[in-house]
């Protein structure tokens, strides 16, 4: 089936080359990082995780977009999602590749990476994160590919795929929960030490993931004969806005806990993030995120505005940027600031860090592009 990805118009090849160039530049930068060490990043003794790990945190959520469509489709026989399912599953694959790539480039000694498997340590959440990410990748690969293979021969997918689909739904919840547990089980990191961390991960994932998927579907509609279906779009917008409301509610719960209790450890990170103490560019980003989140809700809550197809993409873009700043950048930097000595350490990603991250994203998007191309070619093939 992969051969269908080798036939495309100039726009397709232009996109593929662009991704390859970004991967090339970032790949060369990674070689530079391997030679010099992580000293080329903005990381420090006090802020020991940064931009790379932020991408893991965010893209885990995007990977989950699949479940918000797979669940209604399989559990509630909601047929409107029929066309979107395959896009969702393949987006999950790309997103997980970005997650795993972000972990690899973050390692100081990536050539020893297999030590995680050679010396399995069940008490480490990172070990479980490795297990659930690889498992989810494999599940989506098998489900998506087999479904497509049978579709090509105008056949229903084999029966053994269904249990895997059900498993993937439960598994999707595990990838967020486990990734949230990376943070929320650490003593002495006040911003992360909260029971709503995992629920927040789920809520922000279930709005950001489908939002990106819907945007991608809109682009795919522009460049191919693919049609998501009006009902599917409306249903997704509803899912997105509910999840976003829960996400913001949970964040406000954090704010209440910190400021009503008045406990300094809980207050300091939020004060720093919003510029009340040691303000820097992070505060600008957080306020931008606040404004964008408010804008997206104003556009998405009233049904009249939500169903306005001209406004919808803008609302979704605003939502994606807002959740990215909050869950990617804010969560990471806020967790390390103040540091264990109640001091404020500055962190900003460096250019090499951004170039390497771009390459990781390009690799994920490259895989998604190829998979989408295959899926759409087969759809056109069987329709003809």
């Amino acid at each position: 089936m992969l051969e269908t990805a080798l036939k495309g118009n100039s726009r397709y090849w232009g996109w593929i080359s662009l991704l390859l160039i970004v991967m090339g530049i970032g790949g060369a930068t990674w070689v530079y990082q391997l030679n010099q060490g992580l000293t080329i990043t903005g990381l420090s003794r006090d802020v020991s995780w940064g931009f790379y790990v932020a991408q893991l945190t965010y893209m885990v959520g995007v990977a989950a977009a699949a479940v918000m469509l797979v669940l209604p489709y399989y559990f509630h026989h909601y047929k409107a999602f029929k066309n979107m399912i395959i896009l969702a599953e393949f987006q999950a694959i790309g997103a997980i590749i970005i997650c795993m790539g972000s972990i690899v480039v973050d390692l100081g000694q990536p050539q020893r990476m297999l030590n995680v498997i050679l010396h399995p340590t069940p008490n480490s959440v990172l070990f479980w994160d490795m297990v659930v990410l690889n498992g989810y990748l494999l599940l989506n690969l098998i489900i998506g590919w087999v479904t497509l293979m049978y579709q090509r021969s105008n056949m229903m997918p084999p029966k053994w795929v269904k249990p895997l689909v059900y498993l993937s739904i439960v598994w999707a919840v595990s990838i967020h929960t486990v990734t949230a547990f990376l943070y929320q089980g650490l003593p002495g990191r006040h911003f992360w030490l909260t029971a709503v961390m995992a629920p927040r991960f789920l809520a922000s994932a279930f709005c950001a993931g489908p939002a990106i998927l819907l945007l991608v579907a809109m682009i795919v509609e522009k460049v191919s004969s693919f049609r998501a279906g009006e009902e599917a779009k409306k249903a997704m917008a509803k899912i997105i806005v509910y999840a976003m409301c829960i996400n913001i509610f949970l964040f406000l719960c954090e704010v209440f806990t910190a400021f009503y209790s008045g406990i300094p450890g809980h207050k300091h990170p939020i004060e720093f993030l919003f510029g009340a103490a040691h303000a820097n560019y992070v505060a600008v980003l957080m306020w931008t995120a606040t404004a964008l989140a408010a804008f997206s809700l104003v556009c998405l809550i009233p049904p009249k505005l939500r169903e306005n197809q001209k406004l919808l993409p803008w609302a979704l873009v605003a939502l994606v940027i807002a959740t990215y700043i909050d869950k990617g950048i804010g969560l990471l930097i806020g967790g390390f600031t103040p540091n264990p000595f109640e001091g404020f350490s500055f962190y900003a990603p460096t250019l090499p860090e951004i170039a390497i991250t771009a390459a990781v994203y390009a690799a994920g998007i490259f895989v998604i592009t190829i998979l989408y191309k295959v899926a759409l070619s087969i759809k056109e093939e069987t329709a003809a």
């Binding site: 992580l38 003794r45 100081g108 480490s124």
Partner: protein, 259 residues
């Protein structure tokens, strides 16, 4: 013709395989588990739970503490790197930084502006060991939280988990930052990309010596077994008021500060 060539190739293949396997077989035959030829030093110091008591009354100025830090960093070839990517095993900071949850609004003037020593707490219940995905950091039976710098993958999860900021990461190759003349050939240097920290001088204890900082402290640091009620450290803790860093987190530090 074809048949003979085939048999020839078959025999040639088998003999090449045999030649290649020879060194491996030889190496396997000569392998002796290294526990057998490595006997513990009879001078080794033993304890169930090594602990340190820092008598802060005797460590007041930088001149009091610098020799301790120098002794430690020299012993372990700790590089001198300036800036936020520094590596340190033993260092000092102010009251508010060391005991953030134990300082009231108004403090004893002397304590307020005083520096205290910081190092790995060798917690009884260490979060760093809990999170390490490769067992590169682990507990020894004597209570020391150890580091295997050859197994560490440099994920820095332990640095996020340590509430005491005791861990340093080698962001770059540390070797150029060592004073070549002052290097200690007894202790290995590190490579970039691994985490390191104080090990309570585990390598010195094995040879019957107390930690380098304790030796250099002229009695201001006490070192002993927390599990032994008659040890020097337990006696000191019985007779003096002491605190530990961030007791509320349940990590049970093995480094005590007499105030």
């Amino acid at each position: 013709m074809q048949k003979t060539r085939r048999t020839f190739l078959k025999y040639a293949g088998v003999s090449v395989l045999g030649l290649a396997a020879m060194p491996a077989v030889k190496a396997a035959a000569s392998y002796v588990p290294h526990q057998v030829h490595e006997k513990p030093d009879p001078r080794e110091l033993h304890a169930k739970r090594w602990a340190m008591v820092i008598d802060t009354r005797r460590l007041n100025s930088d001149e009091d503490m610098k020799p301790l830090i120098d002794a430690c960093h020299k012993e372990h070839n700790v590089p001198k790197i300036d800036g936020p990517q520094e590596v340190k095993w033993l260092w000092t900071d102010t009251m508010h930084a060391v005991f953030p949850e134990q300082s009231g609004e108004f403090q004893h003037a002397e304590l307020e502006h005083k520096n205290f020593l910081l190092l790995c707490n060798h917690c009884y219940n260490p979060p760093c060991v809990r999170v390490c995905p490769t067992k590169a950091t682990f507990k020894l039976q004597n209570g020391i939280t150890m580091m295997d710098m050859h197994r560490c993958i440099g994920c820095r999860f332990c640095m996020a988990a340590c509430p005491y900021g005791a861990r340093s990461f080698n962001f770059k190759n540390p070797r150029p930052f060592l004073d070549e003349a002052a290097q200690n050939p007894e202790y290995p240097t590190r490579m970039r990309g691994v985490v390191e920290k104080c090990t309570f001088c585990s390598e010195r204890l094995e040879k019957g010596q107390k930690p380098a900082c304790v030796e250099a402290s002229k009695g201001a640091l006490l070192f002993g077994d927390l599990a032994d009620p008659n040890s020097e450290v337990r006696k000191a803790l019985k007779e003096n008021y002491s605190i530990v860093r961030k007791p509320g987190l349940g990590t049970q530090p093995s480094v005590y500060y007499i105030i």
